[in-house]
């Protein structure tokens, strides 16, 4: 059936007119969903693609699901992709993406929508009430100013859903055939930070947020406070039995037994429910909590509901400061979690703080920032580490008071305004790319991450190789346990999935200094970008679980990725009925990536803008990172070509050779190496002449080689 996996319609919310229109999804299917779908919609609905700040009313923000959403595809049924022009990046806020998990995209599908296109700007704050096909714009002046949790609760109340569980069946409208549900609507909203157009996050439920790109402020600038969606419909799939059976296989073959976990296993996706929170839990009375259809929840809910679902980086960024004031790990944890809670309520993306807070503290101690500094700040910097400071800090950011006024536009915007370029030379301001914080995988050492970011538009944040080739051996090394899979085999298994560009080419995975600028590495980065663009960001497979290159639960250690029984292409086939190979998906990713680059080009991208911060070229990682860390393991062949996990030593990138590498990369992509722009021939081979035409019209078509 043509609509297998698809709801069939896209919802266009015109905020200027306060009108909702339904668009047929038929013409967008080639893009797969998620990022591809969102980008195609942006291409069609954004009238001015030269915008460089997402807060312009002409910006278009798309929330897209995928054919997998709402179905039990393992860790693929619950992610929502957010696309549009972002905020707070440097030098330009690119057309960018973010995604979040939870229930929003599955609700979207059950309500009958594949995506939501948001255009224009409302005259006054509104929120949108979607129940299946019914869409209503509701005055949000009473919600404006509410924090993200209060907003969600208020919307539930409006729709007549009471707090708590054990609720009776509720009608979507006033007749039983209009649909019934026992579920709460999924409410995606912004907090005060977004309202004041400070680069912030979109929050759904307690712990799902789209942080990168600062789409919270995009919504704020559009006067959009929240979108509530309640669906009682169904998602048809091509082969239900096939889908169910493949899901069973995934659990039985690839994933740990929930009650007999192999906690030292190298299973990638398959560790099952393990909470990714870095603070000592306030209480052990807790459960795992998962996005829709996940095979192993990474979040948790506590007996004290306050810190529910806080996970990953947001549970860590404040701990280092908090420990100055507390002894007990639990107290430190609580201080951190309280800060995380404050962040979630105001709706800020805490990732930037990874680099911003240490840098700001540095400025404070240098006497540059503070009551008497050149940069005036009355914040109690000596209290940095206490929850009170965090609250005060967020308040000044949200209200654009104190240094908040400058930071609101972006961290590097502030840095340049304050004339602190030197901190980018020294690395004290650790923003390696696009004005974004260092993720913790330094581009000088973890090459695919750094290059991947440089060749796209945001912190790469794709843990595929990182999980398998760094974390797995790392885990064994730290506790001097034997490697579960020898380097030789591990590299074989990964390389086997690198088609169509580098299938079986192990040298692509050589992380030694000699290989930092090679064609092989360019192929690896291409593969990684294209894989992510389609299988993860367009199909909505979760980055924590996919790709799964190898897996110690299986014979021969074969992972689920690309496998015959539970590989990405299997899910695509059983859901949509389309017999597409794993590599066909990567080709689709290439097309989507080209569409992205076309938009960046229209925005004003040129290869000369694609550069790391100066310190990445000048300073060694030594002392800053790896020196204090005895093993940053990556695979590397020894002089006899035998592979081992080797600590890749201190090093920096050579600017000139990075430029050469870029040329190689552009060449392989079939782009103009002089500019980094797509060429007509390349676009036309992908049936994307319409893109070439638009580029040509503004004289930004890459020159053919």
């Amino acid at each position: 059936m043509i609509n297998d996996g698809w709801a069939g319609h896209i919802l266009h919310l015109d905020l200027t007119e306060l009108k909702a229109k339904a668009i047929s999804a038929a013409n967008y299917k080639r893009w797969g969903g998620g990022h591809g779908l969102g980008t195609a919609l942006f291409w069609d609905y954004c009238e001015d693609k030269t915008l460089t700040d997402g807060r312009d009313p002409r910006n278009v923000c798309v929330l897209s699901s995928s054919p997998f959403c709402g179905t039990p595809v393992p860790s693929g049924g619950g992610r929502t992709e957010v696309t549009g022009i972002g905020t707070g990046q440097w030098p330009i806020s690119w057309y960018t993406r973010s995604n979040f998990g939870g229930r929003f995209s599955s609700m979207m599908k059950y309500a009958g929508w594949d995506a939501i296109v948001i255009t224009g700007k409302a005259e006054h704050p509104v929120w949108v009430d979607i129940r299946n096909g019914d869409v209503a714009f509701v005055d949000a002046r009473t919600l404006w100013g509410k924090d993200t949790h209060a907003t969600q609760e208020a919307v539930w109340a409006e729709i007549g859903m009471r707090r708590g569980t054990k609720s009776a069946w509720k009608l979507l409208r006033n007749t039983i055939d209009a649909g019934r549900t026992t579920q709460k609507p999924a409410v995606l909203c912004i907090g005060p930070i977004g309202e004041n157009s400070v680069h912030g996050a979109l929050i759904n439920d307690a712990g799902n947020g789209a942080g990168q790109g600062g789409f919270g402020s995009v919504w704020g600038s559009k006067n959009l406070k929240a979108v509530s969606i309640l669906g009682a419909g169904e998602v048809h799939v091509a082969d239900p039995a096939g889908l169910i059976q493949a899901r069973f296989i995934t659990k039985e073959k690839y994933v740990d037994d929930p009650d007999k976990p192999d906690l030292t296993g190298w299973t990638g996706m398959a560790t099952g429910a393990i909470t990714v929170a870095f603070s000592a839990p306030p209480t052990h009375k807790r459960r795992p909590q998962a996005c829709q259809s996940c095979i192993g929840g990474c979040r948790t809910r506590y007996a004290n509901g306050k810190h529910n679902e806080q996970s990953c980086q947001e549970t860590a960024w404040y701990g280092a400061f908090a420990r100055r004031f507390y002894q007990d790990p639990v107290d430190i944890g609580n201080a951190n979690l309280d800060a995380a809670h404050a962040a979630a309520l105001t709706g800020i993306n805490t990732y930037g703080l990874n680099s911003a807070l240490p840098w700001l503290e540095y400025l404070y101690h240098e006497g540059v920032l503070g009551p008497n500094g050149k940069i005036k700040s009355e914040l109690p910097w000596e209290q940095l580490g206490r929850p009170e400071f965090a609250a005060a800090f967020f308040d000044c950011i949200a209200q654009r008071t104190d240094i908040g006024a400058d930071l609101a536009e972006g961290y590097l915007q502030a840095l340049h305004k304050w004339g602190r370029e030197e901190d980018l030379e020294s690395g004290e301001a650790d923003f390696p790319y696009w004005g974004m914080a260092n993720h913790g995988y330094d581009p000088r050492s973890e090459l695919e991450w750094g290059y991947g970011t440089l060749m796209s538009e945001r912190d790469f944040n794709s843990h595929d190789l990182n999980n398998h080739l760094f974390w797995a051996p790392f885990g064994s090394a730290v506790s001097a346990k034997p490697m579960r899979i020898e380097a030789e085999r591990a590299v074989e298994l990964v390389a086997e999935r690198l088609g169509p560009y580098a299938k079986g080419r192990k040298e692509c995975l050589d992380y030694t200094e000699s290989n930092m600028y090679s064609e092989a590495l360019a192929q690896l980065v291409r593969w990684h970008l294209h894989y992510g663009r389609f299988w993860k960001n367009s199909c909505g497979l979760c980055d924590f679980k996919w790709a799964n290159f190898f897996n110690t639960n299986t014979n021969g250690y074969w992972g689920a990725t690309g496998s015959e029984d539970a590989g990405e292409q299997v899910w695509w086939r059983v859901v949509t009925g389309e017999d597409m190979s794993f590599e066909d998906g990567i080709e689709r990713g290439r097309q989507i990536y080209n569409l992205d680059n076309a938009i960046w080009t229209l925005q004003g991208r040129h290869r000369d803008l694609c550069k790391f911060a100066p310190y990445i070229y000048k300073k060694d990682v030594q002392g800053f990172n790896l020196g204090m860390f005895p093993f940053f393991f990556w695979p590397a062949p020894d002089e006899n070509g035998k592979w081992e996990y080797r600590e890749i030593g201190s090093r920096h990138l050579d600017e000139a050779r990075v430029e050469e590498w870029k040329s190689t990369f552009y060449g392989l992509e079939g782009w103009d190496a002089k500019t980094g722009w797509p060429t007509r021939r390349t676009l036309e081979t992908m049936d994307m002449a319409f893109v070439a035409d638009e580029l040509e019209a503004v004289g930004k078509l890459g020159a053919e080689r």
């Binding site: 179905t71 569980t165 019934r180 659990k251 429910a273 459960r287 998962a290 529910n308």
Partner: protein
């Protein structure tokens, strides 16, 4: 009415009597009425003693991760389409509530003397005798009167409404799950049990205590579970 109501012309035009037939009609009518009135007292009452189900689903509210996989697979297995509203097991969440009250799992209890079965006027909802007495609704018989939905005493009601077909449905332990790809029902697979990533749903042949609603909520947490850092103790 009587002849007097007719004016004299009409009276003159009265059709000729046909006493034979008229009596016959009267007699038939009387007989029919009498027969059915009498029969109505002889109508069989409700079902005689209802045999107990030979299988039950029990759940662990402290283990569920709220991923909804069970709901999706349930509706997929029965309808060939994923849907929360058509799922026979309902998982509810309040992300802001305190564990363990943040999640509620609502499986069908396959009750003793199931009220939903008793409520069905056309015996569409009844124990499948040859299939372990699982209480299931025969979609061919259901007339969509919603009485079983009302009759379920639990909240949310464990009987769902299929708006497309105007019929009620309920958990059949996958007896009728045509899209499961394997045999369901008692002695076979229950999709929700098999798919649950944390094994928070389990099938048992022991009938839980019918006098308590929470007797279907059990502890399914093994040692390994605590090794993952989840516990009830501080």
């Amino acid at each position: 009415m009587s002849i007097d109501d007719l004016d004299e012309k009409e009276r003159a035009m009265l059709e000729p009597e046909n006493p034979g037939r008229r009596k016959f009609m009267l007699f038939t009518g009387m007989a029919g009425v009498a027969g059915f009135l009498a029969g109505s007292f002889l109508l069989p009452g409700k079902l005689e003693a209802m045999p107990d189900s030979k299988g039950f689903l029990v759940v662990d509210l402290n283990k569920c991760q709220g991923c909804g996989s069970c709901m999706m697979v349930c509706s997929l297995g029965h309808h060939g389409a994923a849907s929360q509203s058509l799922s026979r097991i309902q998982i509810q969440q309040d992300p802001f509530a305190n564990y363990p009250d943040d999640v509620f799992m609502a499986p069908c209890h396959q009750c003793e003397d199931a009220p939903c079965v008793q409520a069905c006027p056309v015996a569409a909802n009844r124990p499948a005798m040859e299939l372990g007495n699982v209480r299931m609704i025969d979609q061919e018989r259901c007339i969509g009167c919603e009485q079983c939905i009302n009759a379920c005493q639990f909240t949310p009601s464990r009987v769902q409404w299929d708006p497309k077909r105007h019929k009620a449905q309920k958990c059949d332990l996958c007896t009728d799950a045509l899209y499961l790809g394997e045999y369901g029902g008692i002695g076979g697979t229950q999709a929700c049990v098999k798919v649950c990533p944390v094994n928070a749903i389990s099938f048992t042949i022991e009938m839980p205590d019918q006098s308590r609603e929470d007797s279907y909520q059990v502890n399914l947490r093994g040692k390994g579970w605590y090794a993952r850092g989840f516990s009830d103790k501080d």
